[in-house]
């Protein structure tokens, strides 16, 4: 009779999760590549759509020199950071938005009986198929805008931008995880998840264009300001808020930790919707 391996603990547990994650992502990628033409057409469509949105900003700067003191390269830099942060979250973790559906249909039970963290299973089990265009365009626009801001000669700022983009993805994850977790209390939570989905667009522009109440909300309540705008302040020559900018990694980790606690307290009261 085959001996069961003991369940890993400590550092081996992390290695175990990494190994399982690699397997999940590989499986997801193979599934995407099963229909290569479809994958290509969809993501070119996604690229075109995002290009059109960037085009709208480009058009605005054909008749104005600056918006609230931000020039074209600066606005596009923030926009591209936000696109990148969003697309990384979207490609790897978007299925956390389906938690409401899992709870409604009782499918969460299936994840609870497996020997892996349920949230890990939700996010690892799905690799998104149609947001790769946003990722590619985000990289291109960030590189072009970064070059005209003179980032080429400043490797430290490039490294900061890369770190900030990852922190931005974590901010996205935090907000959407918190929104998704409301499913444990209200079951039908589409009003909350769709609100989170739509207000993420506020992260794409300099916060200076919004009235004070929205700026405060995007800083301290739903911290989408830290997805691109605040961290960009260390990169832009005209940047203000440098202290808040430096706090980006702390805010991102704290926001995600808070959202994870909220998820766990919801999970602990989950009793299934009955079948």
């Amino acid at each position: 009779m085959q001996q069961l391996e003991p369940f890993p603990r400590g550092p081996t547990l992390l290695a175990h999760y990494l190994k399982v994650y690699t397997i999940y992502v590989r499986a997801g990628w193979l599934a995407l590549m099963a229909y290569p033409v479809d994958f290509t057409v969809r993501n070119l469509g996604n690229l075109a759509w995002n290009l059109a949105a960037v085009g709208a900003i480009w058009l605005i700067f054909t008749f104005t020199g600056s918006i609230r003191g931000f020039d074209r390269a600066q606005v596009l830099f923030i926009y591209a950071m936000s696109m990148l942060a969003r697309s990384i979250w979207h490609l790897l973790w978007v299925d956390m938005m389906s938690v409401g559906g899992y709870v409604q249909r009782g499918e969460l039970d299936r994840l609870l009986v497996r020997p892996l963290d349920p949230l890990f299973q939700v996010v690892a089990g799905y690799l998104d198929h149609d947001d790769w265009g946003e990722l590619a365009l985000g990289l291109m626009v960030l590189a072009l805008a970064g070059r005209s801001l003179g980032l080429g000669k400043q490797p430290l700022l490039v490294a900061w931008t890369a770190l900030a983009v990852l922190c931005g993805s974590l901010v996205y994850a935090a907000v959407h995880l918190a929104a998704a977790s409301t499913a444990f209390w209200m079951v039908r939570n589409s009003a909350v998840t769709s609100l989170a989905w739509d207000i993420d667009s506020f992260s794409r522009y300099p916060l200076d264009i919004y009235p004070a109440v929205i700026r405060l909300a995007l800083t301290w309540v739903v911290p989408f300001g830290f997805a691109a705008y605040y961290p960009s302040q260390l990169v832009l020559a005209t940047g203000t808020h440098r202290y808040l900018a430096a706090l980006t990694p702390v805010v991102a980790v704290a926001a995600f930790a808070g959202a994870y606690r909220f998820w766990q307290s919801g999970l602990s009261r989950y009793q299934g919707t009955g079948h």
Binding site: R42, G45, A48, T62
Partner: protein, 260 residues
């Protein structure tokens, strides 16, 4: 009439499953807020009135466009894409109805619901707060007629592109291309008056401008000849509906249903 039943079912479905409604409402609300802030910021620094439009005119144009965008959606094409992908199109084709007409009425039900439940409330709020300046009643009537024609053009375009999925197997990406074309050349986000001359002349020969630019320009009091705007819209609508009808007959014969 049999086909009205399709519209009725679409309305009832929307009343029951509210996830789509919330998406539409929060999406429209956020975009209205962002566009208001963005354009106010643009005008605070801008050189005198870009494109010859005042801030009030631009806000009226852009915010009304956002409120209408829920109604002017590309769901017709996406609906066909979905049916081809899932294979349900096969059973639907077997029913004793003209499927193209049935889909049109279903889309009309959806659109009527979104118009009354999202576009009209958002628009009313904008009009009451004075962010949107409502023109004299006669202009409003012209605008309503123009908006309905815009719906027809959008529907026909979306339907025709959705049909291409019959040939490619999956039309989801194609509808995104169409949406990109609409965003760039319809004046949905930036009024065409602000475009560089070269881009504007491209936009003027494409059907997209009849979806946002013409109705919103009428509403913002920026149109010289109202009848010729509406005639252009009607012309594109008829042309695209006929093209869709023709493609529909071709498409039925190449349909390959996958899986099930």
């Amino acid at each position: 009439m049999t086909y009205l039943a399709f519209a009725r079912v679409a309305v009832l479905r929307n009343l029951t499953y509210r996830a789509g409604y919330w998406m539409s409402l929060t999406g429209t609300g956020s975009m209205v807020a962002i566009q208001y802030c963005l354009w106010s910021a643009v005008y605070s620094a801008a050189s005198p009135a870009p494109g010859g439009m005042t801030l009030a005119q631009t806000l009226t144009y852009v915010l009304t466009a956002r409120a209408a965008s829920a109604f002017l959606s590309l769901d017709a094409g996406r609906g066909i894409n979905q049916r081809v992908r899932l294979g349900t199109i096969a059973t639907e084709l077997a029913r004793p109805v003209d499927l193209q007409l049935a889909l049109f009425f279903e889309g009309l039900g959806e659109a009527a619901f979104t118009l009354l439940a999202v576009s009209v409330p958002v628009f009313s709020l904008l009009a009451l707060t004075g962010l949107v300046v409502v023109p004299p009643p006669a202009t409003v009537l012209w605008f309503v007629a123009s908006l309905l024609l815009a719906y027809l053009v959008m529907y026909a375009l979306s339907f025709a592109v959705g049909l291409m999925g019959f040939w490619t197997g999956n039309g989801m990406g194609l509808t995104d291309f169409l949406e990109a074309g609409v965003v760039l050349f319809s004046g949905a986000l930036v009024p065409l008056d602000f475009y560089p001359a070269s881009l504007r002349s491209i936009a003027q020969v494409l059907p997209f401008q009849t979806i946002y630019h013409l109705p919103m320009s009428i509403f913002a009091g920026r149109t010289g000849s109202l009848p010729s705007s509406l005639a252009l819209q009607a012309g594109w609508a008829v042309l695209l509906i006929l093209a869709g009808r023709l493609a529909w007959h071709q498409a039925r014969s190449v349909l390959m249903v996958q899986g099930g």
